[in-house]
């Protein structure tokens, strides 16, 4: 728990992308994703342009393509759904490699695959360059209601408490002669899930009371207005990617 509150996806570095204020990156990422989703699926070249944008940002952020690809596997279930579509889909059929496929389904699959992958890459880049604390700071500066940022702060903090408590309970079970393997570990876990919750809560409550007694008022210190809020220049720099993506989307809309 004492280790910094950086998450597994964060890549420590000092690239220009890392140095951008979090609120700029969040807005840029959301705007980019919206532009991608709004693009007509027939405009194949546009998705190439988006991928190029992602590659440029990844290069600037010194995030390797390999890391990005490995982490994209979170998307796998969607991809499987996409592969089923050409067979399930209705309408006109096309013959490809001896298989009768639905053209509608093929486009649908491409749509999910391309837009899903680009979206995952965009969030992975955000995650790789922003610590969770900065993420919350960014949301706070974007005027996200305080009750939400407060829940988010505690959630991220208590995740570590929860994991630590689960580990302690597992060691306690092992040292009392339990020898779970493979799926049977689940049995011990399921039986103890209620007490895990309670133990984590009582530990978390102590953390909360300790925070209160040290002057916590519901907002992280020095967050608001806070040094390091984005300057106009940084907003401009951050805007380049979504503006380019928007231009691509607009061109695609005109052409198709």
């Amino acid at each position: 728990m004492g280790a910094g509150h950086a998450h597994v996806l964060y890549r420590e570095s000092d690239s220009p992308v890392h140095r951008l204020p979090p609120e700029v990156k969040i807005v840029a990422m959301v705007a980019f994703t919206v532009a991608v989703v709004a693009t007509a699926r027939e405009a194949l070249w546009a998705f190439g342009a988006y991928a190029l944008l992602v590659a440029v940002v990844a290069g600037l952020a010194r995030v390797s393509a390999r890391w990005l690809l490995v982490r994209s596997t979170i998307e796998l279930p969607f991809v499987l759904f996409a592969f089923a579509l050409p067979f399930l889909g209705a309408g006109e059929r096309v013959d490809l490699l001896g298989l009768s496929l639905s053209a509608e389904g093929l486009y649908g699959a491409w749509n999910i695959l391309a837009k899903g992958t680009l979206g995952v890459w965009a969030s992975l880049l955000l995650a790789a360059t922003t610590t969770t604390r900065d993420l919350i700071v960014g949301l706070d500066r974007l005027r996200c209601p305080q009750i939400l940022t407060q829940i988010a702060i505690f959630m991220l903090r208590y995740l570590d408490v929860l994991v630590g408590e689960a580990r302690r309970m597992r060691i306690a079970r092992l040292s009392r002669g339990d020898d779970p393997r493979f799926l049977w570990q689940l049995r011990g876990f399921a039986a103890g899930v209620g007490s895990l919750f309670l133990r984590a809560f009582e530990r978390g409550e102590r953390v909360y009371l300790a925070m209160l007694s040290r002057g916590y008022t519901g907002r992280m210190p020095a967050v608001w207005p806070g040094a390091g809020a984005a300057t106009a220049g940084q907003w401009l720099v951050g805007a380049t990617v979504p503006v380019l993506a928007g231009a691509v989307a607009a061109t695609a809309a005109v052409l198709t």
């Binding site: 991608v36 579509l85 309408g91 979206g119 890459w121 995650a127 009750i147 505690f154 399921a190 809560f201």
Partner: protein
């Protein structure tokens, strides 16, 4: 839950429908923020964080469902409604979804409105209505509480899954033709199983908490708080 149903990847549902549900989700969350502020006191703040963390962790466990390449995970709507109430509960789940989408790319950012509507708004609302109803009808015993939690969790999961089917019907990007009924069937069947698992976990967790710290269970607090604690809780 399903990767499909719950975490909706970018591009599965078309833009206008996603935007419309974004507006719906935003409106619902605004109400929740207003009402939730009244609820969030010193006891509920850490509880809300822990419920969110718990749901976050639990949603990471994905169960593959072998038909149609869909995987499902637990939802947590009923647990949240039970422990922190409907308003803060919906906010907890919304926070989990937003962080998952922003940080892990789990569920598309542009589809957040759809996911929040299904998992945070519909699931929590259904769960809380059932909880309010069943707690009134069932005997105020540990068994009554367990049954309430189980039913609320299972039903809310299936209803949330149907929320996805409706959204797909409104704006699915790939036309499934007559297969929409098939999608609905797959979703309902798979979520019935997930719902049972979710019901069991919710029931065990809620019963344990109610036994040791009945003051922490929101659903037991409001109606006749003192009487409830005596019967369900016992001594601290």
């Amino acid at each position: 839950m399903e990767t499909l149903a719950m975490h909706i990847s970018n591009g599965i549902i078309n833009g206008p429908v996603a935007a419309a549900f974004g507006v719906i989700a935003l409106a619902a969350l605004t109400v929740c923020v207003r009402r939730g502020r009244l609820d969030l006191d010193d006891r509920l703040a850490p509880m809300a964080g822990l419920v969110a963390a718990f749901i976050f962790a639990v949603q990471m466990l994905n169960f593959p469902i072998f038909t149609a390449g869909v995987s499902g995970h637990l939802l947590g709507g009923a647990l949240a409604a039970m422990l922190v109430g409907p308003w803060v509960g919906a906010l907890c789940i919304a926070v989990v979804l937003v962080v998952q989408a922003l940080v892990f790319g789990d569920g598309g950012v542009a589809m957040l409105g759809l996911s929040i509507t299904n998992m945070a708004v519909i699931a929590v609302a259904v769960a809380y209505l059932l909880i309010a109803l069943l707690l009134r009808v069932l005997p105020r015993t540990t068994t009554g509480l367990a049954v309430t939690a189980f039913v609320a969790a299972s039903v809310s999961v299936v209803v949330a899954a149907m929320g996805f089917v409706v959204q797909y019907w409104l704006g699915g990007t790939a036309d499934l033709g007559g297969n929409l009924a098939g999608l609905a069937g797959t979703m309902a069947a798979s979520h019935l199983f997930i719902g049972i698992g979710e019901g069991l976990i919710t029931a065990t967790t809620v019963v344990t908490v109610a036994k040791v710290r009945p003051d922490l269970v929101y659903a037991l607090r409001k109606p006749a708080a003192s009487a409830t604690i005596a019967t369900v809780g016992g001594v601290r």
